[in-house]
Amino acid sequence: MTFVTGWGRTTPARADVWSPGGREEIAEALAQPPPRGIVLRGLGRSYGDVASNSGGLVLDLTGLTRVLAFDAEVGVVTVEAGLSLAALADLVLPHGWFLPVSPGTRWVTVGGAIANDVHGKNHHVDGSFGHHVERLTLATPRGEMLSLGPGSDEFDATVGGLGLTGAVLDATIRLLRVESAEMTVDVETASSLDGAIERLEATDASYRYSVAWIDTVSRGARFGRGVLMQGDHAPAGEAAPAPPPLDRPPRLSVPSRISAAPALRSPALEVFNELYFRRARPQRGRRESIPAFFYPLDALGEWNRLYGSGGFLQYQFVVPHESVGLVGEILGRLRAAGVRMPLTVLKRFGRSHGLIAFTGPGWTAAIDVALPAPGLGPVLDEIDGLVADAGGSVYLAKDARLRPDTLRRMLPRLDEWRRIRDALDPDRVLRSDLARRLHLVEDRQPLGVDNPQR
């Protein structure tokens, strides 16, 4: 028995953690679930309780790392679900291919990337990870092995389905052709949030990757200023040096003892933030390595410890394009509530898919919040309401506090997803603390304020 948490280190859940050696063992576990059920887990980078299962079984699938097929001519690879995106990138980069979608960390498994339908700085052009999955093998708790492709109900329910439809055993992924292992990056500053939004709108179509860091630390007029980072893979250069392997732990890690000294709560945060924004100078065609461009936070191992023992949460929402005004409204409300927001990232989303996946089109902002934050709950509940009213939603891979009644308003196809999910897992073997909290799996809603009519 151990305690597991998400990356935000909130609500520790006591659970049995078991690393099955292969597909047969996964099938056996699914066939003999404990009373509190089973959750599937990868590298634990989800922020909240989506990969926790208190009192139950956690299947750690990071041992399933085989490469089953790789066609370096057409750029299609089939790998097992526990392989990290770091290892996958190392495999394909030397052949001139790259991950079709890169989230903010490379320490994500392929299975986790599908279950959470992760996205990156290229969502406005390429959509999310699930858009690039050609086939996947799903082991269902009913004991079947399904081979699923886009267009089927089961596939659409599994992409972004939070691991609740079955265990993805392997997936076939269409890769992105690249000419080099480097990036060319344009950096632009904006003196206000509106300015950053305007510039992203005007320019993001010309870049494959486009994102803005928003200053939500400074007080006064500097609050909301932004740094736009936009770029693409660099063309073949004159004998570019071989890229360093991505699948290697960072040289520098935050020791566990720092938990007692939450660095991100101190004035050091303001100083660091100011230095960062001052250093950001408009620049065109800057060459950057893949890790520096896609995964800057990966450079510091266990960086979540910087938040101390209280942990942190990340609030990420998406709202339709016409509701862009909500971005400023939401940041303003959090600021008025005195909430500490060390890091905020803003970008536009492109096409949509899936049944309950976090998806666009629209504007998304991801806001890191240091905990404890007194009074944050009611403020976020209000913000959830604004997002739901606008037809937007909250990213469940990062959620640790949404309420089930609001979720229902955010996911118009939730009941459809539930029907497909229940058919794949009629005994409700697959559970997570998030599923319990948001009533995703249980048909009978617990009595109480979230369900007053019963």
Partner: protein, 237 residues
Amino acid sequence: MRDALTPFSTVLVLGGRSEIAAATVALLRRRGARTVVHGLRAPSGSDPQPAVAFDAATATKDSIDAIFDAHGDVDLVLLAFGSLGAAADGQLDPANIDEVMTANATGAMRVLALVAARLRAQGHGTVVVFSSVAAVRPRASNFVYGASKAAIDAFARGLQLTLVDTGVRVLVVRPGFVHTKMTRGLKAAPFSVSADEAAAAIVAALDGDADVVYVPRLLRFVAALLRVLPARAMRAS
């Protein structure tokens, strides 16, 4: 069910008419508690809802399981039922001894054991056990009550030892004199507090990690002092 911002979202109050529990629940609601289930002997429409039938003397595994099954994961259970019993000479009436021991000691032990098992199965949760300063130092006027509280106090502290690393916490609260319906008409002892003050102390203790807490906290030192005083000093109290 709990979340990152609300550790105590679903609360079960067994003995739901307790004023200290009501004040505690009011504070927890202000901090985001969503669902408070009241376990009551013969619940009626005038009781706070949702209310379920509960009697410590007859509680079984099935009856406790039924309460949990209907409400999902419970984050906090307040064991708030109990009986003060008769005072002074009346306390030695065998019927009084039986009643007080059944409510405060054996009944509380049965319920605590069942609740703890259930929380253990869900892998998280906290139980607040209401003991008393009288458990530590008997007074001439209410030592049957004190004996019953000493029993549940020792039981709860023993249970704590078996729950290490299970995700389940048992918090033993030892109030001194609290002004409530139950104590109306009694002469207030020194360091008496209101139900609201007791609730604030309990919620503060829930935020910390103590196993045992006195209410008010100052009583910890008073109790330590009383423990070394000769028994004679307690005779008149």
